[in-house]
């Protein structure tokens, strides 16, 4: 083998992923080539070293031994004892006075802060009420406009309906008037004919009365 195998080929060789024939070739080359032998030896060294880290297991969480636990319990009890002793000691009176003074000061500050808070709250409530009222008025105005428009619409509709009814009645009256007038004309014509006929009869009667005297 004239050329050196590539590192990729050596990786297949080292991890047994090459074909038996290729493995044999590389093995032969390794036997002859000191340079490759040195390189492969380096890689093998890394591989061997990696085996030092065997399957990792999680370590046990730290658990105190029984003696340690008893010691911790004793320390807690001791601490409690010291605390009780300090509370009942004469120096405690001075501490209580200081505590009472601090408490009074804190109460005063708290009362002042509460008053300030109440004032601010009332002011904010008034502002909110104003805003709400203005909004309500705006809303009522809008509602009123809406209602007015609806009423006008209803009135218009009613007016149109009334107008139609009135026109229909007028038309009917006109028709009746025309019929009546026609009837009247007929009566008048008839009456006129009657009068003409009566006058002619009167004229004839007058003529008859005059003829015997002649």
């Amino acid at each position: 083998m004239k050329t050196h195998p590539t590192p990729e080929e050596w990786m297949s060789f080292l991890y047994g992923e090459d074909s038996p024939a290729r493995h044999a070739e590389l093995g032969a080359h390794l036997h002859q080539c000191a340079e490759c032998r040195g390189q492969v030896q380096t890689w093998r060294g890394g591989m061997t070293a990696l085996d030092a880290w065997t399957e990792p297991q999680p370590r046990r969480r730290w658990a105190p031994a029984p003696a340690v636990r008893w010691a911790a319990a004793a320390a807690v009890i001791l601490g409690l004892g010291i605390g009780v002793g300090r509370i009942t000691s004469p120096a405690q009176a001075e501490m209580q006075q200081l505590t009472a003074a601090l408490r009074a000061e804190m109460d005063t500050k708290l009362a002042s802060a509460r008053e300030e808070f109440d004032r601010t709250l009332q002011q904010q409530q008034a502002e909110v009420a104003e805003v709400v009222q203005a909004a309500a008025i705006d809303a009522a105005g809008e509602e009123l406009e809406h209602l007015s428009a609806r009423i006008a619409n209803v009135i218009n509709q009613r007016r149109e309906a009334d107008q139609e009814t009135y026109l229909a009645a007028l038309k009917q009256m006109e028709e009746r008037y025309a019929t009546l007038r026609q009837d009247l004309d007929t009566v008048a014509v008839n009456a006129d004919d009657g009068l003409s006929q009566a006058r002619e009869q009167l004229i004839e009667l007058a003529a008859i009365k005059q003829s015997p005297s002649n």
Binding site: W43, G45, G46, A49, D51, W53, E55, P56, Q57, R59
Partner: protein
Amino acid sequence: MWRVRTDDDAEAFAQLVGRWQKPIQNLCTRMIGDPHRGEDLAQDTFARLFARRKNYEPTGKFSTFLWRMALNICYDELRKLKRRGEFSLDEHDDDSGPFDLEADGPAPDSQLVEDERAEAVRRALVELAEPYRVVVVLRHYEGLKFREIGDVLDIPEGTVKSRMSEALSQLSRLLNPVISEDSDQPNPRPRSNERLLI
């Protein structure tokens, strides 16, 4: 996985976890360098696997899907640790050593030597850049073929081998003292690269 995906079969999922918990935990531990975090991350992986079971396409290999998911969780964790500046080499130098001491194990002095070597390897792995570390962990410890690693990482097989050779060179330099000690040992421990059958 198909039963888990289609039927939400809890029993099948439990079997799946039982089969894969250890390899995934080992992967996470070696990627992060912390057995406890590895354990937590493995649990996160299975939680995410169940949550995203509908995303699994049966056309691909389940193992590839799972390795990739676990690695993504590891990368997220590494990013978080680096952002918080918590990813350090001195994370496990507590009194109990890196691992549990087995009652029926080797004598305390030899156990101590083994623990020191293991800690040196852990540190060396953590020092490797992530692209090299992941190849070493998947090939050397989890026993995946170079081609399978290429599938998981979505890179060519040649690139995987190239990174492996570079990683081994770096590890050889970093672990030179451990290697020197090992060369003095008459019977070095055999490698544990069991193949994971899918």
